[in-house]
Amino acid sequence: MKQAIGKLLWWFEERLELRTSLWTVMRHPIPRDLRTQVGWLYVFGSTAMTLLVLQIVTGIGLGMVYVPSAGEAYESLEHINYNVELGWMLRAIHNWSANGMVVLVVVHMTQVFLMGAYKYPRELTWMIGVVLFLLTLGMAFTGQVLRWDADSYWGLGVGVAMVGRIPYIGPELVELMLGGPTVGADTLSRFFALHVFVMPGLLFASLTVHLYLVIRKGISEPPKPDELVDPETYVEKYEEKLKTGDPFFPDVFLRDAAFIGLTLLVIVGMSAILGPDGPGAPPDPTLLAVEPLPDWYFLPAFAVLALSPPSLETGIILIAPVIIVAIMFLFPVFAGKGQRSPRRRPVAVLIVIGCFLSYCVLWQLGVQEPWSPHMTAWSGVPVPTHMIKGRSPKELQGAAILQEKTCRNCHALDGQGGQRGPDLTVVATRLTRDQLIRQVVQGGGNMPAYGKELNRFEVEALVSFLETLKPEGYASAEASVVTDRAD
């Protein structure tokens, strides 16, 4: 029996010659330096790749049930969530694994950047890596569109508004992107084609080149301070290291195996506990009471769009991404030699810290959205009782007007309400009566003018309420201005 199996295997080996091809690749030597704990920093790329495979597997599963038709996609997602056996779980895994892939690709890039692994002779590996990063983000965006709910629908609207700003050919590009004059079946189908055929094809093609380069040029050895990369001598030194190296499989791969296993466990756990993402509200263009938000990794971009000055906005939308990608892509061309250790590359470390800090700050702002009106605050957020206790009828009338005229959508009282405009809790210490009237009637700063919406009695009542908004014992703004003038 044993002999028969051996014979059969040999029959295949004679024809495939895997021992001299695949097995040699699996056993390619890895520098011994990875044996120390630093080796744990080398597991992110392989894990990201594993998640790509997981995305393909779960994607095929979802593709067997999902209906990529604008009229039916939403219902088919609900069908997967509620009717299909383990459908919710597959959608959850696909979602959390996608999130994990974005995170791991970024972590992998950061590690490669900090350890100077993109330097000679691995510049091209980095460049293809940038392409893989962009394709991952592209998959994330197109995948978000396939979740055909209100976020998806209005997210496309935002994409359209950005593309539409491209000079001259903007309108044509919009129609090409949507597959017609408006968001509909042709839009969903072309994003489906992008997400399922075009981008995965490009991802696999780029990944093949990336892996080929990783194996041909070898994994970079952990950097040591003052061990400079010199194209004249690097290859020779590196090959010397490989002579005492460990085989990738199974020795070095063990760490990857452990981390991949842990990642899979985390994703299964998150999927089981948190479930799938959406679909949210239906993609109905006539349901306007929605607050579209991109998926979390795009929130900083969302914040940038809210915060950039209008005069620079089109430039920021259209030119900044090109510049950022060009810098990322060409970085190793300009910094492909010299020090690799982060201990000797303070600027590189600062760049990473700067990028992560700005990302986190913008992300936090994107979550809070202080620039957006709170659309339900006027009817849903109460006036703090201490502000209306013991007030005159006219002042109470003013409080009601503040509420009724949707002022709270932008203005908070005691921190509750919109943050678009200033908090009014102590507004009477900042503005005099005249200033309050002028601000209400004429607007100004970033405030609309309410002159046409309020009659003079309403203005009078509103302002008399606003005049009461100051801490006990504090002088109102008017008094202090008068004293100033008296001086």
Binding site: V158, G179, P373, G443
Partner: protein, 184 residues
């Protein structure tokens, strides 16, 4: 070839014939590729090769719109496709100023296309995304939008309000009230 007659082929005839075959093969490949590329490219560029113009839609009798008020109207998008489902619907804000004077606004914020909500209490449109605010007449009130709300062309026909719309308005291709080009 010519060996029977005892004369070897001259270099010239051979190169001419081979040269012709070479040239012919390349030309054939080129011709076939171009012939194949034209319909394929045409398919991919279809949406711009055959753009569809906005169309007039019935928004209902004038009596549906009280004087000096604004309301949201849902209609079917005249440019919808057979499989568009609920995305084939479209909404627009109708403001009747008085008599037959109307303003018809797109629901898309001119900043980045999010849905604006109408607050009749304060006479403002507010956008939930980046804080764009517009007045009752569509004018820009506050926030990042680079212009007022997009407007659609309208006319009154046999006491019914007709509105011309269809395409998703963007800065360079706004609503039908502003363009006289291909989409109007």
């Amino acid at each position: 070839m010519n060996s029977q007659s005892g004369e070897p082929p001259t270099m010239e005839t051979a190169t001419t014939r081979r040269g012709f075959m070479e040239w012919f093969s390349w030309a054939l490949l080129g011709l076939g590729s171009v012939a194949m590329a034209i319909p394929i490219l045409g398919f991919f560029l279809g949406p711009i090769l055959k753009p569809r113009a906005d169309e007039w839609v019935d928004f209902g009798p004038l009596t549906d719109f009280p004087q000096n008020s604004t309301r949201l109207v849902d209609v079917l998008n005249p440019l919808r496709g057979a499989n568009d489902g609920m995305t084939g619907k479209v909404a627009a804000y109708v403001r009747r100023i008085e008599g037959e004077t109307f303003q018809i606004f797109s629901t898309h914020c001119t900043h980045l296309g999010c849905p604006v909500s109408w607050f009749k209490e304060s006479g403002l449109y507010m956008c939930p995304c980046h804080g764009g605010v517009y007045y009752e007449d569509g004018g820009h009130a506050s926030g990042p939008p680079p212009r007022g709300l997009y407007e659609f062309e309208h006319r009154v026909e046999e006491d019914r309000l007709m509105v011309k719309l269809g395409h998703l308005p963007t800065l360079q291709n706004p609503g039908s009230a502003h363009v006289s080009g291909k989409n109007s």
